[in-house]
C-alpha cells in the first residue's frame, strides 16, 4: 500500500519530517519499505498555457508560444502529436532538470529557437503504468476545469511534492490497506487524534428499488449493497483525485472508475461500477459459477470459470468475477449514462483462491482475502455516490438495494492488565494501558485488574488477549521493554547421541583433508536412484520447479558428482570433497530419512610439486582413507568386509559393497566410465568415492568408551609368507584362511606385496603377507610360531591350492 503523506493530513495533524515519521511507523507498526518524494532530482517545472501553435512545414514539429507566467511568452518547439493552442501543459524551463537527470537548455531546432520543453508525464518521472492512456504517446494536458494559472509549480499540481510511504504490510494488517486505516495507525503511533468523516447523502433521483431485484447467496456475500446513479457524463476526474490515484500507484481511467478506486483507497472497501445497460434483465444474482461458463475480464483475459468462483450475473450472463475483476460486457464506456454501484463483502477464501486460480490478483481481491472493514460497506457506497454526483454530474437514485446484510458480532476481549504485563515483562500501569487503547481508538472498560476491549471491525486481526498484548507492547515501545534472561530451573542442553556421533565422523573426514559440500536434496528421478545397490521407491514432489529438481535423492554421491562436474568445468581437477546429509525414500508405507556420508576424490594425493611426486588417487588410496575413518571411529576392522559388487553408475569391476558384520552399509569405487565420459568436464578422469549409511554405522560405534591398554611387554615375532595363487583368488579369501588357522597369537596380518607378471604363470599371481605373532603374557617360542605357520600353509594348500614359495 502506497500511503500519501499529504492525504494523511486530511485525517491527522502532521508536522514531523516525513522520513522521521516513516522510521517511527516502521518501529511501531508497519514496515515502511521506502519513502518516495517524486520531485527529488527535478527542478523548474511549471504550468504553461499554449497561446499559439503552428506546424513547422516539412517536419512533425510545432512552433508554440507559451505563457509561463512571465512578461514574455516562451517560444518552444514541440514534437508531441497532441500539442494544441489553448491547453495547459507542463513546461520544463531552460535550466530545468527532468527525469533521468536530463538538463533542459535553450536550443535551436530547424532554425527555430526553443526555450524549454513541453513534457509528457514519463519525461518527468511517472512510471508508464500511471500515465492516463490518452497521454501515453504525447504531452500531458491539465484538465480544463483545473484551477491553475501559468507559472504555477507543476510539482504541487501533479502531487510530486508529496512524500509517499510504501507500507510493506504483513497479512494481519489489512486495516492499513486504506487511508482511513493508515490514518488510525499513524494517529496511534504519533499520539494525535484522528478525524474520519461520516457521510450524509441527499438523493436527488427517483426511487429505483422496485424496478430491480437482487438475489444474493449470503454465504458467498454476507454483505451486498447496490445503488444506481443516472445521467453521468463520462470524462476525466478532477486533478486532485487523479493526483491521489497517482500517488497510490493507480492509473486514472475515467471519472466513474476513478471514484470506485478512490473510495477503495480511502476506506479499504473495494467498489465496483457496472454500466447499467448490462442489466437489461433488471436483475442481479450473486452465485457460484457453473461449469463451462466463461468471462472476458476487463484486462481482456478470457477465463474458464471454476465452480468455486463467485460470479455476478444479470440472471443470464456472467458480468463479473466477484471481488476480483469486472467483465468487459459491463464495463463503463465513454457513452455510459447509468451506473450501478456495488459495495459488498465476499468470502475471503473463495476470493483468494479465485484470484490465485486465474492468476489475476487485483487491488480488490487482495483486500478481500485479507479482510475488509465490515463497518464501512454502506458508508463507502454513499461516499462513492456523492463523488459521482460531484465529478460526473450523476443523479443519485433514491434507495439502496440490500442483497444481504449479515451482522457481524462485535469482538469483545476480556483480559487483565497483569496478564499483559506478565507476557511483556513490564509494569505498565492501567492508566498507561488506557491511554494506549485511546490512541488506537479502541473502546475499553477497566475494572481493577480486569480489562475489556471492544475491538473495531477494521481490526479483524485482533481476537484474543495475546493480540492485545501486541498492541500494548508495540505502542509502549519494544525499546522500553527491559532485556532479561529467562530465570528457569537448570536444564542440560546438548546434542543427541546420534548427532554427537555424526559430528565426530565429520570431524575425522574433515581432518583427512576433505572439504564439506552441501547439495540440493531435490534432483532428477534418474540421479535420485543411482549409486544405490537396491534403489527404493523414490519420493517425488508435486509441481516440481523443473525436472532436475523433482525427486528427493536416495544417495549423496549424485550431488558430489554434480559438484565435481561444476569444478572440473572450471579446471579444478584436484578434488577431495564430502557431504553429510539425509537421503529419502518411501518404504514400508512410510517416508524415511537416513543420514548418509559420501566422499569424492579425483586427481593426485599431493598438489603439483617440484619433486614430481604425482601419486594418483586410486581405489586403494580412498579405501585407506575409509579404513582410517573406521579405525578412528573404533570399528573393529575385522568386522569390515569389501565384496566386489555391481552398483548403478559405478565401475563394474572397480566397485565394492562395504559390509560390517555382514550387513551392507555402503559402497566404494570408481565412477563408471559412461558417467564421466558423457560429461565434457569429467571426460577421461578417474573419480573415486564412497558412500555410507550412517544410520547403520552409528549403532556400531555408540559403545561406551574402552579402557586403554598398555603397550605389549613381550616381543612380537614376525614371519613373512609368500604364496602363488590362481589369479581370481581374492586377498580376502586368503586372509580369511590365514586368520582362521593362525592360532590365538596371530596378532596382525598385512599384505605387503601383490605381483602378476612375467616371472610367474599368466593365470597366477603372488601374494606376500607379513604376519605378526604376539603373546601378551609371555615370550613366544619358535615352536609355537612354526606350528601356526605350518597350519596356515597346510590350509592354504588344501583349500586354495596355493603354492607356498
Amino acid at each position: 500500500m502506497l500511503v500519501s503523506y499529504n492525504w494523511l493530513k486530511d485525517f491527522i495533524k502532521l508536522d514531523q519530517d516525513p522520513n522521521d515519521l516513516a522510521e517511527k511507523i516502521t518501529r511501531t507498526g508497519v514496515e515502511v519499505a521506502e519513502v518516495k518524494h517524486p520531485e527529488d532530482g527535478l527542478k523548474k517545472l511549471v504550468v504553461g498555457h499554449i497561446i499559439d501553435c503552428e506546424p513547422i512545414s516539412g517536419t512533425h514539429l510545432n512552433l508554440t508560444h507559451v505563457d509561463v507566467g512571465e512578461k514574455e511568452l516562451y517560444q518552444i518547439v514541440c514534437g508531441a502529436p497532441n500539442v494544441a493552442a489553448g491547453e495547459d501543459v507542463v513546461v520544463a524551463l531552460p535550466g530545468a532538470r527532468i527525469a533521468d537527470n536530463v538538463k533542459i537548455k535553450k536550443t535551436k531546432l530547424r532554425g527555430n529557437e526553443s526555450n524549454g520543453m513541453i513534457c509528457g508525464l514519463q519525461e518527468i518521472g511517472f512510471p508508464d503504468k500511471l500515465v492516463p492512456e490518452k497521454y501515453t504517446n504525447g504531452i500531458y494536458v491539465f484538465p480544463h476545469d483545473a484551477e491553475i494559472k501559468p507559472g504555477d509549480s507543476a510539482f504541487e499540481l501533479l502531487g510530486m511534492d508529496d512524500y509517499i510511504f510504501d507500507f510493506d504490510i504483513t497479512p494481519n494488517r489489512a486495516d492499513t490497506l486504506s487511508m482511513e486505516g493508515s490514518a488510525y495507525e499513524v494517529g496511534a503511533i504519533t499520539d494525535v487524534p484522528v478525524k474520519v468523516e461520516g457521510v450524509v447523502v441527499k438523493e436527488d433521483g427517483p426511487n429505483w428499488t422496485n424496478d430491480f431485484t437482487v438475489d444474493v447467496d449470503s454465504q458467498l456475500a454476507p454483505k451486498f449493497y447496490l445503488r444506481k446513479i443516472s445521467n453521468v457524463k463520462i470524462g476525466d476526474s478532477p486533478l486532485w483525485l487523479q493526483r491521489r490515484l497517482w500517488n497510490a500507484g493507480i492509473r486514472p481511467i475515467n471519472n466513474v472508475v476513478d471514484v470506485t478506486n478512490y473510495i477503495m483507497l480511502l476506506t479499504g472497501q473495494p467498489m465496483h461500477s457496472y454500466d447499467a445497460r448490462a442489466f437489461k434483465t433488471h436483475k442481479l444474482v450473486v452465485r457460484k459459477a457453473n461449469k463451462e461458463e466463461k468471462l472476458t475480464l476487463l484486462n481482456n483475459k478470457e477465463v474458464d470459470l471454476d465452480p468455486n468462483d463467485i460470479v455476478i450475473t444479470n440472471g443470464e450472463d456472467v458480468v463479473m468475477m466477484a471481488g476480483v475483476m469486472g467483465g468487459l460486457n459491463s464495463e463503463i464506456e465513454s457513452d455510459t449514462t447509468d451506473v450501478l454501484l456495488e459495495s459488498a463483502i465476499f468470502d475471503p477464501t473463495l476470493i483468494r483462491k479465485a484470484a490465485l486460480r486465474h492468476a489475476n490478483r487485483t487491488e480488490a481481491s487482495s483486500r478481500y482475502e485479507k479482510g475488509v472493514n465490515w463497518d464501512a460497506t454502506t458508508r463507502a457506497l454513499d461516499m462513492a455516490a456523492l463523488l459521482l454526483r460531484n465529478d460526473a454530474s450523476g443523479t443519485i437514485n433514491e434507495g439502496v438495494i440490500t442483497g444481504s446484510s449479515v451482522k457481524r458480532k462485535s469482538t469483545k476481549i476480556t483480559t487483565t492488565i497483569s496478564y499483559i504485563n506478565k507476557v511483556l515483562g513490564t509494569e505498565v500501569s492501567s492508566s498507561e494501558i488506557a491511554a494506549i487503547f485511546a490512541r488506537l481508538n479502541f473502546k475499553i472498560e477497566i475494572n481493577g485488574d480486569n480489562l475489556i476491549v471492544d475491538v473495531p471491525a477494521r481490526r479483524w486481526d485482533i481476537a484474543i488477549p495475546a493480540d492485545l498484548v501486541e498492541e500494548v507492547g508495540r505502542l509502549y515501545g519494544y525499546d522500553n521493554i527491559k532485556s532479561t534472561q529467562p530465570i528457569l530451573a537448570e536444564t542440560h542442553g546438548g546434542y543427541s547421541k546420534k548427532e554427537e556421533t555424526i559430528r565426530r565422523i565429520k570431524n575425522v573426514v574433515q581432518g583427512q583433508g576433505l572439504i564439506e559440500a552441501i547439495s540440493y536434496s531435490l534432483t532428477s528421478l534418474e540421479k535420485a536412484i543411482g549409486f544405490s545397490k537396491e534403489p527404493k521407491k523414490p519420493v517425488e514432489v508435486q509441481m516440481p520447479l523443473n525436472s532436475n529438481r523433482s525427486t528427493l535423492r536416495q544417495n549423496l554421491m549424485t550431488g558430489l558428482v554434480d559438484a565435481a562436474s561444476y569444478n572440473m568445468a572450471r579446471k579444478q581437477n584436484q578434488l577431495a570433497i564430502f557431504e553429510q546429509g539425509r537421503v529419502y525414500d518411501f518404504e514400508n508405507n512410510n517416508y524415511n530419512e537416513h543420514e548418509h556420508l559420501a566422499a569424492l576424490y579425483s586427481g593426485n594425493v599431493y598438489f603439483e610439486n617440484w619433486q614430481n611426486d604425482n601419486e594418483k588417487i586410486d581405489f586403494f588410496y580412498v579405501k585407506g582413507q575409509l579404513t582410517n575413518l573406521f579405525s578412528a571411529l573404533g570399528i573393529n576392522l575385522n568386522d569390515v568386509e569389501y565384496r566386489a559388487e555391481v552398483i548403478m553408475y559405478m565401475h563394474p569391476t572397480r566397485t565394492a559393497g562395504i559390509y560390517i558384520k555382514n550387513k551392507y552399509v555402503g559402497m566404494i569405487g570408481m565412477l563408471d566410465r559412461p558417467v564421466t565420459q558423457s560429461n565434457k568436464a569429467m571426460k577421461d578422469s578417474e573419480i573415486y568415492g564412497y558412500e555410507l549409511n550412517l544410520d547403520d554405522i552409528i549403532p556400531l560405534i555408540l559403545n561406551p568408551q574402552t579402557t586403554a591398554q598398555s603397550a605389549p611387554k613381550f616381543p612380537a615375532v614376525e614371519r613373512d609368507l609368500s604364496i602363488l595363487v590362481d589369479k581370481d583368488v581374492t586377498n580376502q579369501a586368503v586372509e580369511d584362511i590365514i586368520k582362521a588357522n593362525g592360532g590365538k597369537y596371530l596378532y596382525n596380518l598385512r599384505i605387503i606385496d601383490v605381483y602378476r607378471g612375467s616371472h610367474i604363470a599368466e593365470d597366477k599371481k603372488s601374494f606376500a603377507y607379513r604376519l605378526t605373532f604376539l603373546n601378551e603374557n609371555d615370550t613366544l617360542t619358535d615352536e609355537i610360531v612354526n606350528k601356526a605357520m605350518n597350519s596356515i600353509d597346510a590350509s592354504l594348500e588344501k583349500q586354495l591350492k596355493v603354492e607356498i614359495r
Binding site: 504483513t170 506478565k422 515483562g425 542442553g493 548427532e499 564439506e516 559440500a517 509441481m543 572450471r570 529419502y584
Partner: protein, 349 residues
C-alpha cells in the same frame, strides 16, 4: 746407532706418518705401528735389560714421553678426521630449505555449518537441547499445529513443495516446535530447544532466493517467560554472532505461530548505522523473526496456555552466513565450488 738417536729418528718419522694418515683406517694402522705391541717403542722397552743400567731410567722416561706424544697427536688427528667426515656428510645432505613443501588437501567446514555449529554450541551452553525433526513433514505439524489451518492466507507466503495431500517438504523448521511441545514433560523442567535443519520453498533459484536453505528454530516454554526474556536472549545471540558492539532493535511483524511477533534488526556492521547500500541506507539489517508463542500453538499441543507460555525465534542460517561473510549470491552455498569453500578452512572457531 745410539739409542737416543733412534728415539729421535723414531719421533720424527712417527710424526710425519701421523700427519700423512688421511682417514681413520690409516690412522689406526699408524697407531698400531707407532704404539702397538709390535711397535719399535715396545721393542725398545722390551730390550731394556740390554741397556746400560745407568741409562735405563732416562730411556724409560723418553720412551714413555714419546708414547704420550704419539697418543696425543693420534687423538688430535682422529678428531680432525672425524670432524672433516661429518662436515663432508653434512655438505652432502644440504637442502634448499626455501623450496616449497608438498601440500595435500586441507579440509574445510561448509560456511553455513560454521555458523550453525557456533550457534548450537552457544545455545547448548545456555542449556538448550538440539532437536532434529524430519524434513519430510506432515501438513499437520508444519502448518495446522502451528496455527496455520488450511486456507490461511499466510500459507501463500511460503509456497510449499507438497509430496501428497498430507506430506510435504517442510517450508519451516517450526514443525519441530510442535513435536517437542507435544512430548515435553513440564514436570521435569522447562523446555529449551533449538531445531536446525534444511527447509524448502517453491522459489526459483537466483542470487537472493534458494529453493533449499537452512533455518534454526528456537523455543523456550515455561510458566513465566516474558518478552523481555526474548529480547535479552536475542540480543546476546546477535552480539555473539555479529560482534559485541552491535546494537539491536525489535520491530512489529507477523507470524501465525507467535503473538506478538517481531523482527530483529542489527545495526549495520558495514556502516555502523550511518547508512549504506548493504543496509539500504537505513543503518539497520534485518536478521531474524521471533515472538511470544501463540496460545493456539500451546493449546494445540495439549498444554494449558493460561499456565504455560514462552518465546520462539527462527534464524535463517544462510542469511547469517551471507551477512557475516559478505556473500552476495546465495547459490554460492550450493554449487560447491571448491575455490569458494576452501576459504573456510581457516574460519573455524
Amino acid at each position: 746407532m745410539d739409542l737416543f738417536d733412534r728415539l729421535k729418528e723414531l719421533r720424527e718419522k712417527g710424526l710425519v706418518e701421523i700427519n700423512k694418515a688421511k682417514n681413520e683406517e690409516m690412522l689406526n694402522d699408524v697407531r698400531v705401528k707407532l704404539t702397538g705391541r709390535k711397535s719399535e717403542l715396545t721393542e725398545i722397552l722390551h730390550s731394556m735389560k740390554d741397556i746400560d743400567p745407568s741409562d735405563r731410567r732416562e730411556v724409560g722416561q723418553r720412551v714413555n714421553k714419546l708414547r704420550d706424544l704419539f697418543n696425543s697427536k693420534l687423538d688430535d688427528a682422529k678428531t680432525e678426521i672425524v670432524e672433516a667426515l661429518v662436515e663432508e656428510q653434512l655438505n652432502k645432505e644440504k637442502i634448499d630449505v626455501t623450496l616449497p613443501g608438498r601440500e595435500m588437501h586441507l579440509g574445510a567446514k561448509h560456511p553455513i555449518n560454521i555458523i550453525l555449529d557456533d550457534l548450537e554450541k552457544y545455545f547448548i551452553g545456555m542449556g538448550y537441547e538440539v532437536v532434529q525433526g524430519p524434513e519430510i513433514e506432515t501438513d499437520h505439524y508444519c502448518f495446522e499445529m502451528m496455527n496455520l489451518p488450511k486456507d490461511h492466507p499466510a500459507r501463500d507466503m511460503q509456497e510449499t513443495f507438497y509430496i501428497d495431500s498430507d506430506n510435504l517438504l517442510r517450508s519451516q523448521t517450526s514443525g519441530d516446535q510442535a513435536r517437542v511441545l507435544e512430548k515435553h514433560d513440564f514436570a521435569k523442567g522447562p523446555l529449551k530447544m533449538v531445531g536446525p535443519g534444511k527447509v524448502y520453498r517453491r522459489d526459483d533459484d537466483d542470487a537472493t532466493h534458494s529453493h533449499q536453505f537452512m533455518q534454526m528454530e528456537g523455543l523456550v516454554v515455561d510458566k513465566n517467560i516474558t518478552m523481555g526474556d526474548l529480547k535479552g536472549t536475542l540480543e546476546l545471540m546477535a552480539k555473539h554472532i555479529f560482534g559485541q558492539d552491535r546494537e539491536t532493535r525489535l520491530r512489529p511483524s507477523y507470524f501465525p505461530f507467535t503473538e506478538p511477533s517481531v523482527e530483529m534488526d542489527v545495526s549495520c556492521f558495514n556502516c555502523n548505522g550511518k547508512g549504506c547500500s548493504i543496509c539500504k541506507y537505513t543503518g539497520w539489517i534485518e536478521v531474524l523473526g521471533a515472538g511470544m508463542v501463540h496460545p493456539n500453538v500451546i493449546e494445540n499441543a495439549g498444554i494449558d496456555s493460561n499456565v504455560y507460555g514462552g518465546f520462539a525465534f527462527g534464524v535463517g542460517l544462510d542469511r547469517f552466513a551471507i551477512l557475516k561473510y559478505g556473500i552476495d549470491d546465495i547459490r554460492d552455498f550450493y554449487t560447491n565450488d571448491v575455490r569458494f569453500l576452501e576459504q573456510f578452512s581457516r574460519e573455524e572457531r
